[in-house]
Structures are given as structure tokens and as C-alpha cells.
């Protein structure tokens, strides 16, 4: 078996400006964020990003890496929208292809089967057809004569997904409850990259989870990179849940150019090890702040009504 291990830099080195890149995961869940951060540090530009969008899309837009986004939604789950994606759309900085999320699935499925389109009822009558004038319908060749949307294949130059465990040969294991559409992203792409929380020996998979969790076969992968914490700040259960505190910090910083500059300086202008160290430290600081606020509140309550009133209004 060939050894597909590589580094983040080698992975990014295989990408080119102008490529169409599919990113696995869903919203703010199991996103290959270490790979996204590596793209942020690169000179890649003019990308078409295809994703069930989360902060991956927002971050890439914020850094001017994106020419076009193909999506059904962009969300941070616990926060409805991504602030950078909003700005990118509202200023016209990116081109957009917005489709129903089931159509999106079929687009990946068609690409992975090497067929030009798949028919679906989804999209009929909606503005998805108006805002994507290139979409066509197709009439059933059978007696029913139904007219359906012909969702075109979403062919990808490259795909990035993040999994809980993988081996050196590029088989991947997803231990969380939802594999999302990662298999189809890989199937739809010419160059396929998996990042993983932990590289393990293949014979270790069986003790990590049942056969259904071994859902990414090496037939679908060209490279594998070990990136512990590589989905942070999105959720990567059961290894870790979403870092809600950091996600809030991300959103708050995005709303203010000065704050964004220092956020970027601290968390994005550093390599992956630097990022992991900085976000761990930021978590400690958030916990300390929360503890201090709690202590102030408790102090105010103890100091009686007048003082508590002042405390509440400050």
C-alpha cells in the first residue's frame, strides 16, 4: 500500500489558484479548518469554494481567497450566519451559486458517478431557478412526462475533509454520528485530501468504532495529514465539541476592523502549532474572565441592593 502521509504545506502545494475546491463537514461541524488555515497563509486566490458552508467559507472570504461560493447555506449553527460571508455577499465581493441543499447533494453525487446531472423535483418553482439562469430542466423520457430540475454535476478540482482517525494509506474513520457528505466530496474531486485528528495503524480502527465508522475508503483519497485539533473551532465529536466561546470571539472580532486585525494577528498569522497554542491560551483567558465576572456579581449581591444596582448597570 502506498504511504499517503503528507504535511499541510505539501497539501496546499498541490492546490492552485483558480481551482474549484470542495470542503466537507456541515455548517460549523467537522470542517477541515487546519487545511483552511493553511490556505489562508498561502498565496492561493480566485478559488471557487463548494461547501455546506460554515466558518471555512467565512474565513476564506475574509482573506480574499474566494471568487465564487457554491452553497445551500452558510451558517455557524449556534449563530445563524457567518459575518464574513455576509459582508462578502453584501459588498458583491464574491460570485454566488445558491441552490437547495438537496440539489447540492445531487450535484456532488452526479460528479462522483461521472454523469452530467441528476433529476430532482427540488428547485422547481423557487428562485433558485431565477438566480442560477444556467440551471435547466429535463423531461422524463417515460410515460409520466414529468419535468424536473437537472442538477448539474458539481465537479471539484480538489476536496478537503476532516475525519477522526485515518491510516497512512488514506482510509478514514468518522466516529461522530453523521458522516455528512464527505464521501461524495471526495468522490466528486480529482485530488482528494483527508486531514485527521489522529493517524493510527489500520488494525486500530476496529477498536475505535464499528465497521460503519470506517466510511472513507482509500479508493477515495490521495493524501492524508495528521492535524490534531484540525477541525477547531468547529465540532469534531467525539474528540471535541464546538468551541462556542472562540466562535463568539470570531464573530465579535469580525464586526470591527481593529478587532479583526488583532484576531488575525494572534490566530491566523501563525502556523498551525501557533494557532493551537493561541486558542488554548484564549480559552484559559475566557475562563478567567468568566470567573472574575462571577466574583464581581457575587460581590455586588453581597454588598446589598444599592451596590448591586450599580453593578448591574455598569
Amino acid at each position: 500500500m502506498s504511504d499517503k502521509r503528507m504535511t499541510l504545506d505539501e497539501l496546499v502545494g498541490e492546490l492552485r489558484s483558480g481551482m474549484t475546491i470542495g470542503i466537507g463537514g456541515w455548517g460549523s461541524r467537522r470542517k477541515p479548518m487546519a487545511a483552511v488555515r493553511a490556505i489562508l497563509r498561502s498565496d492561493l486566490t480566485d478559488l471557487t469554494v463548494v461547501a455546506y458552508g460554515g466558518p471555512d467559507v467565512g474565513l476564506l472570504c475574509s482573506a480574499g481567497k474566494v471568487a465564487k461560493v457554491v452553497y445551500g447555506f452558510v451558517t455557524l449553527d449556534s449563530i445563524p450566519t457567518d459575518p464574513h460571508f455576509k459582508v462578502a455577499r453584501q459588498t458583491g465581493a464574491v460570485e454566488a451559486m445558491e441552490v437547495d441543499e438537496g440539489m447540492f447533494y445531487l450535484g456532488l453525487f452526479a460528479a462522483s458517478q461521472r454523469i452530467p446531472f441528476l433529476p430532482t423535483r427540488s428547485g422547481l418553482g423557487s428562485d433558485v431557478m431565477r438566480v442560477n439562469p444556467s440551471l435547466r430542466t429535463v423531461t422524463s423520457p417515460y410515460d409520466d412526462g414529468e419535468e424536473l430540475v437537472a442538477m448539474p454535476a458539481l465537479h471539484l478540482d480538489a476536496a478537503l475533509v476532516h475525519v477522526n482517525r485515518a491510516d497512512a494509506a488514506g482510509s478514514g474513520q468518522i466516529l461522530g454520528p453523521d458522516p455528512f457528505f464527505d464521501e461524495l466530496f471526495l468522490g466528486a474531486a480529482d485530488r482528494r485530501f483527508v486531514t485527521t485528528e489522529r493517524l493510527v495503524d489500520t488494525d486500530r480502527f476496529a477498536s475505535e468504532g464499528p465497521i460503519q465508522t470506517m466510511c472513507i475508503s482509500r479508493l477515495l483519497t490521495d493524501g492524508v495529514v495528521e492535524t490534531p485539533g484540525g477541525a477547531h473551532f468547529t465540532a469534531c465529536v467525539p474528540d471535541y465539541t464546538r468551541d462556542e466561546g472562540f466562535q463568539k470571539e470570531y464573530v465579535a472580532a469580525a464586526g470591527d476592523p481593529g478587532a479583526w486585525a488583532s484576531f488575525s494577528d494572534r490566530f491566523l498569522e501563525v502556523d498551525e502549532a501557533g494557532y493551537q497554542a493561541a486558542t488554548t491560551q484564549a480559552g484559559v483567558e475566557r475562563d478567567e474572565r468568566r470567573a472574575a465576572e462571577k466574583a464581581v456579581k457575587a460581590g455586588n449581591a453581597a454588598a446589598g441592593n444599592e451596590a448591586a444596582g450599580k453593578g448591574a448597570s455598569s
Binding site: 459588498t91 422547481l124 418553482g125 454520528p177
Partner: protein
Amino acid sequence: MSTDTGVTRAEYCTVACAEVFRGDGEVMASAFGTAPALGARLARLTFAPDLVLTDGDAALVVGAPPLGAAPSDLVLESHMPYRKVFDVVWSGRRNLIMMASQIDRTGNQNISAIGDWSRPKAQLVGVRGAPGNTVNHSTSYWVPNHSTRSFVEQVDVVSGVGYQRAAAAGPSATRFHEIRHVVSNLGVFDFETPDKVMRLRSVHPRVTVDEVVEATGFELVIPSEVPDTRLPTPEELDLIRTVLDPRGLREREVKP
């Protein structure tokens, strides 16, 4: 008629959302927002016992767990990752209450963007599954902030497909299309009119028809007699207050 002042607006909304599932057999109930989430659970525990509820993640659950129940307290009965959700959507075995940033007279819904789509004033979450949901299975909407900004003559981006748009798109679009109810913090609406435009079905107690008309940005069909939204039964009220939402999350979503 409805003089029980102890019942809150949020509780009327919950019962109105539960009514969306009346008559449903073994279908997957999906519900976005607090009142819909409670309503689906209430229906499951009372008049729609075959409903199938999700855990909000990747599974179907047994019974109707309280809002905010710990995952370890749930009994799972089946795997339902996103890819399988589409199997359910496309099979039609689903009844859904979505939210709407905008909704219009013929039942189009918008969660995509405010303003011109090509360069919106406000980018919202995106069309999500609304286009596919509405042409594949019954869909209803929940609008907790009824105003002329949410109930508009024409939505800016048709995400969920309404009756006129489905008809214009042809038989493949209308075949499984149904917009059942729209529930707002002021009343309940449906499309049971000859030309399938929005009709006031009931007003929540302590709301007047005039208030509804004033808060709506288009001409509603108003029947000569508008009933009040029904009261929760004592059993339903007890289920809502003591079993399904003891922490009172429902009161944070809807102003009393």
C-alpha cells in the same frame, strides 16, 4: 369565549403548532423554533402518537423528550444522518414547520436574502432545503414576530415555494406541494381559499382582527367570523408546563 388569562401567548402558539401535525400518521416531524419544537412533541404525546421525532442531530428518538434534554437521556431508535434526511424528504414521509424571515400572500417564504439577491442588503442563511421541502411534503411556517416586515406582498427571494409559483412551475411542482398553516404570534393562517391566497384561520385570544390586518403587509382573506385559536386542554397545558418545557423556554420566544 377564551377567557383563561392564565394561558400565555406562547402556549397558544404551541398548541397552534401542534395542530399542524393533526391527522399525521408515521411521518417524520421536523420543527424549527421553540413553539414548533414544543408543538411537535405535544402532538406526539396526544393526538398524533405515530409521529417520529428527531434528536436534532443524527437520530430518531423514542417518545417526546423535553426541550433541552441531555443527549444521555434520549432513547434513540434509528440513525438519521443528513444524507438520509433527504431520502425522507424526497419520499414525502415528513411534515415540517420552518421559520420565515419573509412570507407572502401566496405562501412563498424567504430565508435567503433581503433585497436584490445578486447584491443583497442582508444576506441571510441561504435557501437551505426550503425549495425541495415545499415541493416534496407538507410544509408550514412559524413567524414569532408578525409585522409588515415579515408578512410582505412579495418575498425578495422565493426559497420555500408558494401556491402560485408551484402552479406556474407545472404538475411536477404541484404534485406533492402543500403549505398547510402559517402560525404567527398573532394568529393562524391557511390557504383554504379558491385562489389559494392566505386566509386568517384564527386569532390568538386577546388579539383583534384589526391588529392582525395592521401588522400584515398585504390583503388577507378575512372570513366573516374569525374564531379564536383553541385553548390548550388541561392535559396539554400540563404537558407543556411540567413535562416538555419546565424551564419556560417558550416564553423567551414570544412576547406575552
